[in-house]
Each structure stands twice: as C-alpha cells, then as structure tokens.
C-alpha cells in the first residue's frame, strides 16, 4: 500500500509535468497551428543556462551559482526571451502557412538550437548539482517520499493551477482561450494577434524554464537530448487529448505521465527498459479507438 501511494505521488508528479508541457504546446498550437518541436530545446537550453559554456564534463556554474530565487528568475527569464525570439524570427514569418510546414520549421528551429548548444557546450553529458538539499526523502503522514518527487509534484501542481486560473479568470487568459479556439474570430473582436501569440510563447518559455530546473534537480545531469523525451510525451498528450483542446492536453498529460510511472513500477524487472515503448504503443492504441483524440474540437479538422 505504501508502495502504491509512493507510485501514485510519482504518477501525479510526472503527470502534472507532462500536462504543463502539453498545455504550453496546446496553447501555441491553438493560436498559430504550430506544434512546436523547439519546446524540447527551451527545456534543454534552460538546463544548460545553469552552467558556463565549456566542453568540460563538470563545468562551473553560471546561473546555477546564484541564490535560488535569482537563479529561478534568470533561467525562466532567459528561456522566455528565447521562446519569444524563436517566435519573432522563425515562426512569425510563417504565421499563415499550413500546420505541416510549421511543424517542419519548428523541427529546424529545434535542430538549430541543439546545434548551438553543442557548439558552446560540447555534445557530451555533464553533471551538475543544484538543490541537493531538496533530494532528501521527507516524511509525510508516515510515508517516506522522495524530496524531488514531492517538489516536482508541488511545483507542477501549483503551476498547473496557476495557469488554469490565469486562463479562466483573467481577461487576457479568456482572450487566449478564445484565440486558441478560433483565431480569426478573436481578431475580429479585437484580440491582437501579435500579443496573444507572444503570450502563448512566453508561457511556453516560462514553463520550459521551470521544468528544466525540476529535471536538473531530479537527474543531476545535462544532456543535449534531455528536452526531447518530455516534449515528445507532451506531443502525444496533446494528440490523445485531442489536438487543439486545452483540457484535452491536460488530460493527455496525466494519461501519459501516469501510464509511464505505473509501467515503470509494475512491469517485471527485465521489461522496464521498454517502458517508453509501452507508453507509446498504448498511445497509438488509444488513437486506434479514438483517431481524433479524447476531446474532439473543431480545430482538429485541419481546414477551417
């Protein structure tokens, strides 16, 4: 039972993380029909911004050496700026093209950023330790819970709640949802295209920054591929949730997160390395039953 609850906490933690990334991807998709591969690299760049660019395997700290509040601020700020730059430079000129072209262009942006990291930091993984104090297990109601899991769950849940409140309660949040559903109509009502798109990218940058920190605390390593897995998971979260649906993205995020943790916990030992394959297979099977995703939106029909 205790084991189950620990697994459950893990599942909620990971599910919330994926839900967050999926929501970021879903928002950007909503306002400009772009599925943003570069989200992976927002995560990666965020993590790498902790250290000084060198080829060394244990580099000295850059943002990682700052007091934690300042560190979070700097990382989040720089990733937000990065997200806005990619929007301005690469995606804005393509704003009215079809989703496939946009997808390919984000693939190119992603590759560009990845190459940039390799150029400055070298391609090999590095070890970095921040927040070591947070990794100690803590006792909650007699259960020993990994400090990192607890942190991840708390932060991810808080962010998710904050984001949902922002989308539901603030005027700009409502505009964003309106634009995500029907961009032309929102513009007709005065929603400024540049502004909502910039806000969607800013949100994906902020989330990218925070999540990158959570990942580094969890793994203690930097890797040029570190952003890919969570982002690809988030892609599938949006696909099974129903492309274009924000509640669908959250739902999908939890589904893949929970699946992933439960497979990890309950698969026989020798099968565990295949966990990700299992999750993807289940995702494809869900699509077999519901090709349009769990929550079907009009945006899923590509031509308007």
């Amino acid at each position: 039972m205790a084991y189950f609850i620990q697994v459950l906490i893990d599942a909620v933690a990971l599910g919330s993380l994926y839900a967050l990334v999926a929501l970021a991807i879903g928002l950007v998709f909503g306002v400009m029909k772009l599925i943003n591969f570069a989200q992976a690299d927002y995560l990666t760049v965020g993590a790498y911004s902790l250290v000084i660019p060198t080829a060394a395997a244990t580099p000295s700290m850059m943002f990682g050496g700052l007091p934690w509040a300042l560190m979070i601020f700097c990382v989040v700020l720089s990733i937000t700026v990065l997200a806005l730059i990619t929007e301005r430079v690469a995606f804005r000129p393509l704003r009215n093209t079809d989703p496939t072209t946009l997808l390919i262009s984000s693939f190119a942006v992603s590759y560009f950023l990845q190459s940039l990291i390799i150029m400055f930091h070298g391609g090999r993984p590095k070890s970095v330790s921040i927040g070591a104090a947070l990794t100690r297990p803590i006792d909650i109601l007699g259960l020993r819970v990994g400090g990192v899991q607890f942190l991840t769950m708390t932060v991810a849940l808080l962010l998710l709640i904050a984001l949902v409140l922002f989308l539901k309660r603030t005027s700009i949040g409502i505009q964003l949802r309106a634009a995500a559903e029907d961009f032309s109509m929102a513009r007709l009502l005065g929603v400024a295209a540049n502004r909502v798109i910039a806000i969607a990218f800013a949100i994906s940058g902020i989330l990218g920054g925070v999540i990158s920190l959570l990942f580094v605390i969890q793994t203690g390593t930097l890797d040029i591929r570190m952003g890919i897995m969570p982002t690809v998971y988030a892609f599938f979260a949006t696909v099974i949730g129903g492309i274009g649906s924000l509640p669908g993205a959250v739902l999908g995020g939890y589904i893949v997160g929970i699946l992933s943790v439960f497979l990890q916990a309950y698969l026989p030992e020798e099968m565990r390395p295949f966990r990700d394959a299992g999750v993807f297979t289940i995702v494809i099977l869900i699509l077999l039953v519901r090709p349009q995703g769990l929550i079907v939106t009009s945006a899923a029909k590509e031509r308007v």
Binding site: T97, T101, S105, Y111, I243, F280, I284, L287
Partner: protein, 357 residues
C-alpha cells in the same frame, strides 16, 4: 517521341546522376567516391520518404524506423558467423547459426520493413495528417527503445560490426535509379494521383470515401519498402549497424533535404539531396580545416548543422515549395493540346502552394 516526353521527368534526373557517377568513378578520389555513394543511399531513402510525404502531404518523422528494421534484419542474416551465437544469442536458432546469401537476405529484410510499414500504416493512416505526422515519431521512438534495450538480439546500443561490404557507387546508383522509376510510376498511377489530389484538399477528398485511407496506406507501405532498401544499402555500405544512426539526427537531415529541394516533386528530392550533400561535404572539410598558403583555416565544429538548419528555415520562409517549387522537370518543347508550346518556366501547376485563410 511521346514515350520519351512522358519519361522525360525520370530521364532528366537519371542521366545527369549517371553522368556524375561515371565522372567520379573515372576521375574522383576514393573519398569523393565514398561521399557520393553515401549521398546516393540517402537519395534512396529520401525518395522513399518522398513517396509518402511528397504525395500525401503528410510529413513523416518516423521513416528511419523502416530503415533500421531492414538494416538489422540483414545484419542478423549476413553478419559475423562466428560471433553471432555469442553477441546475439537471442536470435532464433536458424538465423543465429546460419549465414544467408546476400541477395535473399536483402530481399527478406526489405520485405520485413514493408510489412512493418503496412502494419503500422493500418493504424496511423486513419489519423488526421497532423496526428499521423506526430505518430510516425512515436513509431521511431518505440523502435529505438526496443532495439536499444533488446540486448540479446540487437546488441543494444552497441554497434554490430562485420557485415559484408558490397555496396559500390554503381550498386547505389542502380538502386537510386530503380527507386526513382518506382516513385515516378507510382505518382502517375491512379493511386498516386488520387493521393496528390487529396493533398490539395483533404476535406473534399475525404468526401470521396475510404479511398483516402487506402491510397495513403499504399503510399506508406511502398515508401516503407524503399526506406528498407536504403537501410540494407546503409548496412552493407558501412559494414556496421548501430541504432544511434537511425534516430533524430538522420531524420532531420533527410527531411531537410526534402524540404530544401521541394517536398512535392521527385525532382525536388533529387535536387535537395544533391545540393545538401555537397554543402555538408564542403562544411565537413572546412570543419576539419584546410590550408591556404601556410595558414590553417577551420570553422568551429557544429557549424555544419547550424548552417543546414538555417538554410532550411530560410527556404521555408522565402520559398516554401523548395528549390524545385514542387515541379517536375518537363520536356521543354512539349506541345499542349491547344497547340501552344509550354516553356520550362511556365509549367502547368495543378496546385498553388499558398494556403489562405
């Protein structure tokens, strides 16, 4: 003459290719020949991807899957008779303990790739084009996870070495020509035309019933076979197989080639692969460094990738349809039904590339 005219789009690609290969074979150094051979194999793969992505308008990020499946399958059958029972002990006994002739091994491997493409296509082709794109990525991740961890059969993330190396520049050329012809015959066939029509207007095409699903599935399967062929060629060109070679980097390279050349025509695929192969090779050499007089000049490692991504973005922004603009090469003096001569510059375009909202 009419036959010649009809086959012109193929001949206009194949003859220059053969000419270049002959020149390299006669006058080029061994390293140039290697580079050219590799480019031709990439061309086979790119055309495989084109058969699906170019005709259907659905870009696939997962075709490396089929490449990897065929490469591993041929490795299992032809590689290292002595070591196989130890390093790949999990193989079925008849494969583990036997070494198969090269041609049957190649054919069965290609067939396996095709079958996997068909089976996965049964599911993926039901999805909307965007979901399908993303799901092809899932396919590649599934395969990557399985082959990286299935140590007793694939040697995990280690490299399988000792495959017979038989792919020369002429074999690569032969295969490239073969798939160009296949791709062309496919795209002018009824199924190909149907799919190209659907690419232009999915909603209208869907109204015509389930045929969209089947025409997509046929394209996907056919492109799976061709990608399998590319996988076999890669394996027997390098002499090694490693799962790391069948992942995102290589996918990016091929997608970039297609996009830059122009994803919607066969000529675009050929032009893209040629152009990018040359660019990459130049930058690779520049990264190694070359001497001008007495000074050694080199550019930082990784600039090749940056430039490639940069070119791709610029093409997408300023010339979305790629270098070839979605056109095939056409017989420049063809006479239309109404008697007017169609010049190269004013090829009839069945599709306007601009989308509008």
């Amino acid at each position: 003459m009419r036959i010649f005219e009809r086959l012109f789009p193929v001949l206009a690609l194949v003859i220059p290719l053969a000419g270049v290969v002959w020149t390299i074979d006669q006058f080029g150094s061994a390293s140039v020949e290697r580079v050219a051979t590799e480019a031709l194999i990439r061309l086979v793969f790119a055309i495989g991807l084109y058969i699906f992505a170019g005709n259907s308008g659905i870009v696939s990020f997962g075709h490396m899957t089929f490449c990897a499946i065929a490469a591993y399958a041929t490795a299992w059958q032809t590689c290292c008779a002595m070591l196989k029972p130890i390093t790949m002990s999990g193989l079925p006994a008849f494969i583990r303990d036997n070494t198969f002739p090269l041609l049957p091994a190649a054919l069965t491997s290609i067939a396996l790739a095709g079958v996997v493409a068909f089976t996965s296509g049964l599911i993926l082709m039901r999805l909307s084009s965007l979901s399908a794109s993303i799901s092809t990525l899932a396919l590649m991740f599934i395969l990557n996870v399985i082959y990286s961890n299935w140590t007793t059969v694939t040697m995990g993330s280690s490299t399988i070495v000792g495959l017979p190396v038989y792919v020369t520049i002429w074999i690569a050329l032969g295969c490239a020509v073969l798939v160009i012809v296949i791709a062309y015959l496919y795209q002018v066939s009824r199924w190909g035309l149907m799919l190209r029509a659907a690419r232009e207007d999915e909603v209208a095409a869907q109204a015509s019933g389930t045929s969209l699903y089947w025409s997509r599935l046929i394209a996907f399967t056919l492109s799976g076979f061709v990608a399998g062929l590319a996988g076999v060629l890669f394996a027997h060109f390098m002499g090694t197989v490693s799962i790391a070679n069948f992942f995102l980097n290589h996918t990016f390279l091929i997608v970039a080639m297609l996009v830059i050349g122009g994803m919607q025509s066969l000529a675009g695929a050929v032009v893209g692969v040629t152009f990018i192969s040359v660019v990459i090779e130049l930058f690779r050499r520049a990264e190694v460094g070359f001497s001008v007089g007495s000074t050694q000049i080199s550019i930082p490692a990784g600039s090749q990738e940056l430039i490639l991504a940069g070119i791709m973005l610029l093409i997408l922004i300023f010339r979305k349809a790629g270098i070839m603009g979605g056109k095939e090469l056409r017989w420049p003096w063809s006479v239309r039904d109404d008697g007017t001569v169609v010049g190269v510059g004013q090829v009839r375009l069945a599709h306007s590339a601009d989308s509008h909202r």
